[in-house]
Amino acid sequence: MLLVVEQFLNGLQFGLLLFLLAAGLTLVFGIMDFVNLAHGSLYMMGAYFAATFVVWTDSFILGCVLALGATLLLGILLEFVALRHLYNRDHLDHVLATFGLILFFNDAVRLIWGPAGLALPLPPWLTVPFQIMPGVYYPAYRLAIIVVALVVALLLYFVVMRTRIGMLIRAGASNREMIGALGINIKLLYTLVFGLGAALAGLAGLMQAPILTVQIGMGENILILAFVIIVIGGIGSIRGAFLAAIFVGMIDTLGRAFLPDLLRQVLSSSAASTAAPALSSMLIYLLMAIVLVVRPEGLFPAGRR
């Protein structure tokens, strides 16, 4: 029972982290109709910035805040210099150009920080396990990720649902031509949205950095999951991304945790331990396939075009 609670938290933490990444992606894809494969590179840059700034400032929090700002600026700069010129092209050109950006960022990082990767050590107060209920200890840092991600999700919900900017963003997701015709500065809105997406990706990257290592190409595997999430959740929908991310995080973690034991009931022990990891990593894609068959627009589509 205690194990179930712990695995549930693991799944929640992973899901919330995926949400931060997917939220930026779904905003950019849904509102700007722009396929950004380089979103994973921004995640990587967030982690590299954090690893650098934390050492410079000698403060974990301050370093992370600076890294967040740096990723935001980088996103705005990227949009301004490169991506702005691609909006009128088709999706294939987006894919080609942003794939080029992945290569660019990977080699830029190799030039600046070297190929070996960096470590982002945690301050001592975050490395102690935290007792959440009698007998259940949970890493304090993972708990911190859950709290920060939930706060960011709430803020995002508030901004998108309750503010003028949010209204414009939602309007942009539903009908881009109309919002332009109404005299809204769509270019500025796009730059803002892209910067916001970049900052969210950077936040996911810098929060993941102390758990994983900061290394070249760290955003590529996780980007695939983020795409799966926005497909399941419905493109352009923050709410969809949130629910789908939690769903995917839970399925991935609980699958890894309990599938081997389930399979051992029917298969031999060694066959089960080999098959279970393969099977549990398939579950997410299976879910996506089912969603695509039943509701091709995703579970919570942002609006009709």
Partner: protein, 390 residues
């Protein structure tokens, strides 16, 4: 007119027949030079190059040419690169290979073409057993051997029970099988993770804690070892469940693992402070040639691979068409290995000592790996009886 005709004919012959073109010794080296594990490939290349420097870049009086190929840690790419080296580069030797799954995929073209092969890391159980082959040698180990030594060490320490975690691929299965074969306590559970994409081990660590085992054993090479140690420490398990490792802490991962690696034991057939002369020279010259870097066991095995190849070419005075003579020369392991003396079993796998290594703080505050004791002497892999070679 007539002379030019003959010249042209001779050229065509020379191009078509590798024995004619053999004024250089060509070596193909397959390893990982891109992606997160490229640091391992770089260390292997550095060490191989250093070995060539030490032997004057000549073998049997002929200059040596090395062609490095990147397998990207993918079995299909490794196989493709291996075929390219054999078919279009027509190499005399093929060496390298970090990953067991890449090696297993690449083995068939090597064996079919009877190319001489020296493996510098991967040691799948199949290769030591039923897939052993006359022209294939290893300067590393069979995968099970190192964790077997760890299991022995855990017996010596009186560890009661263990929870095993490893990646779900050929080497991961061998490693866990290795511990299980020697460890006398109870195995409380075993978990395999998706390789190489899974980097978050929270679910596995939670299960390990819930199993109530007295200790954890892991095998995570490269960056995954850094991530595992981070998460193990953050979960607060360091005080509750001591960690035992194979190929998880090395000179490449240690600068990132830092304090998390302090006091975590592992086993290895080579440690940087082994007191033999060849090793002292290797480590000192490596650090001189590549400032800021330290050699790893991957490098030590690659250094030995170059020496083993050189010993074969010297024995036939550069005539690499005499494969059986080269094979006979290599079986003697007649070179100064940086791990100290070792022998080859009839399956061409080393019979060698395994040492206990620990992480200690040096005088200048940096962390280093150090030999603590010899765990097993002259260990031979347990699959050699399945090898049909005499």
């Amino acid at each position: 007119m007539r002379t030019s005709f003959w010249l042209a004919g001779a050229t065509v012959l020379a191009l078509a027949n590798p024995a004619f073109a053999g004024d250089t010794i060509k070596i193909g080296f397959v390893s990982t030079f891109s992606g997160p594990t490229a640091v391992i490939g770089n260390d292997m290349r550095n060490s191989f190059e250093l070995a060539l420097d030490h032997i004057g870049r000549k073998m049997g009086g002929k200059p040596v040419e090395v062609i490095y190929e990147d397998d990207g840690q993918k079995p299909d790419v490794g196989k493709q690169k291996t075929e390219k080296l054999i078919q279009s580069d027509k190499v005399d030797f093929i060496a390298g290979y970090i990953w067991s799954n890449v090696l297993l995929a690449s083995l068939k073209p090597v064996v079919d073409s009877k190319t001489m092969m020296v493996i510098a890391n991967a040691g799948p159980s199949q290769l030591a057993g039923e897939l052993c082959s006359p022209y294939v040698f290893s300067t590393s180990w069979q995968n099970d051997q190192t964790p077997q030594a760890v299991g022995e060490y855990m017996n010596q320490k009186g560890v009661k029970s263990v929870f095993l975690i490893g990646p779900n691929y050929a080497a991961g299965k061998d490693m866990l099988a290795g511990v299980k074969s020697t460890f006398k306590g109870e195995i409380k559970g075993e978990e395999y993770t998706v390789w190489p994409s899974q980097l978050d081990f929270s679910a596995e660590l939670s299960k390990a804690r819930a199993s109530g085992a007295a200790s954890i054993f892991v095998f995570y090479p490269g960056a995954a070892g850094v991530q595992f140690l981070n998460q193990y420490a953050q979960a607060g398990l360091k005080a509750q469940m001591p960690l035992y490792t194979a190929f998880t802490i090395d000179e490449l991962s240690l600068p990132l693992q830092k304090e998390n690696a302090l006091g975590v034991p592992g086993a290895q057939q080579w440690v940087n402070d082994l007191p033999n002369e060849a090793n002292k020279k290797f480590v000192a010259d490596y650090r001189k040639k590549y400032p800021g870097l330290r050699p790893t066991f991957y490098g030590a095995q690659s250094y030995d691979a170059a020496q083993l190849i050189a010993s074969a070419v010297e024995a036939v005075k550069g005539d690499t068409s005499k494969k059986d003579e080269m094979k006979a020369a290599m079986e003697k392991a007649n070179f100064k290995s940086v791990r100290g003396d070792f022998k080859f079993g009839k399956n061409h796998m080393p019979i060698q000592n395994f040492y206990l290594q620990d992480v200690v703080k040096e005088a200048d505050g940096s962390l280093a790996l150090k030999t603590v004791a010899t765990i097993v002497k002259d260990s031979q892999d347990k699959y050699h009886e399945k090898c049909p070679m005499k």
